[in-house]
Symmetry: C2
Subunit: 326 residues, 2 copies
Amino acid sequence: MADRLFIGVDLGGTNVVAAAVNERGQILSRHKKRVTKARTREELLDRVCRTIGHAIARADATEKDVVGIGIGAPGPVDIANGVVFEMPNVPVGRVDFRTELEGRFSATCLVENDVNAGTYGEFWRGAGRGKSDVVGVFVGTGTGGGIILGGKLLHGKNGTAGEIGHIVLNPGGPLCGCGRPGCLEALASRTAMQRQVAEAVEGGAETSILELAKGEITKVRSRTFRKALGAGDSLAKRVVRDCAENLGYGAVALVHLLNPECIVFGGGVMEALSEQMLPTIRQVVEERCLAGTADGVEIVPATLWDDAGVLGAAALVMEATGVTLD
Amino acid sequence: MADRLFIGVDLGGTNVVAAAVNERGQILSRHKKRVTKARTREELLDRVCRTIGHAIARADATEKDVVGIGIGAPGPVDIANGVVFEMPNVPVGRVDFRTELEGRFSATCLVENDVNAGTYGEFWRGAGRGKSDVVGVFVGTGTGGGIILGGKLLHGKNGTAGEIGHIVLNPGGPLCGCGRPGCLEALASRTAMQRQVAEAVEGGAETSILELAKGEITKVRSRTFRKALGAGDSLAKRVVRDCAENLGYGAVALVHLLNPECIVFGGGVMEALSEQMLPTIRQVVEERCLAGTADGVEIVPATLWDDAGVLGAAALVMEATGVTLD
């Protein structure tokens, strides 16, 4: 008999990735498709379904082997009904994934916020494995978080728990993408780092960062900072340190409020710069947390990176269909 | 048959209060004693036990009616073993309350942090009644918090969850009592408000606040600010608004991270100034939280005030002895 198969889907602003996953958390296949050209809900759903179809085929399976499909979506989610209200980077409006996917595949469909799914992936098979209270902080274009307490994702009254990117760190600070000043995301994300470089260059700072990105600030990636650090660039040093310090203050809030066993830092910025940033984050926590509160609280880099989302989404739908995860 | 009786004890830096409570949450008697003269662990225990004895007698009961004793203590607690590690304002060192009290009374003894006990009291019989996800924020000499999720107090890895007073709001801000700069408590507590008045007076500000406190800054109480506000004092207005704004930023962190059903503001500062401060706190939450995240999240004043601690401590030991709370 074939393995019972689950599909984890990680829907991002640029690509959708679907992976076929078995109950032991092994990824049997992956397929990726761009979603940037999807202008309508129907086009988006069509791309997502075809991506799932490819992942199934690549796993040498058929649709009837698939028990559940879990989707991590980049926006606020109505978990109870499997609906995504809106996705700022996939502007096709509200999508009723559960109804649509359960209509096309005979499998249970579950929808979760992408950051929550990623946190759940790291908890199940990544850096938070074996713990029950784990917080994930994902630092990329923006900064988001997910909270697992007692082995369960915390959703809260409006399903929005874990929004660490918009805690206020500096009420009069720089403007955040959300339109409000001084959010953590405005001080610690790739967008924040790009802004600091642009401001410094405007102010006459000498730096190799822009050259490394062909002169375009929007082409400055997390890897660009790593390269510039390697070349001893002092602006890169300051910007990376600043970002890490602010993430440290975010971690202090997590240690003081939730006192988790483990804080996992993931996302593109961390994938490129965790070696540079984590020591600073840990130092801020050490210095700024009350005596005893941070004892034994692990502050660690993600280990699954891009796979966290698909594994977490698959794990969540496994549990929803009665699988007991190990 | 007499009611099964429980004792709730609220141990503060100045007084210990014991109350006899029945399973329905009615307070049958109270007794209060000063603890400032207790120089040793033995003297403190003696005062606590005599206070409990008086509360029992005043309830027309005897020691054998008492099923459980719950203690809220102002310091970090080892809940599993009923031990208080230290109490900054009752400097008698480590106290093994469970062993001591179970030796003197034949009742189950449970020890909890005082702020957690107060939060549990407001959850059971106060402003958070009927909810399951409730955060308590207590603003007095210092600022502390307690978190209830799914009807259970969150303790975290080191038992210190809920320490909202020491999340960092302004990394370069004024020094906190904990020795670190810019904690919420350094910006929003009675101590912070007193400091702002002292600084303003030193800078030549005109105010009636000091006169109302007989010229001594340490005698400026929360009620003093209320009186000064009533007299149209502009410094009082600024200091109260500033404190409320910073509590608002704390509430923003709670809404974004935990997304609770209800945030209850208690403590001496709130008891005197909740009418003045809550509108500002709500306004900051409204302005600074992401769309949808704060919908329906109640931000309310405590209703039990001084009784929250004894009721919460009693409720916790009731549950520990198998009582199902309504």
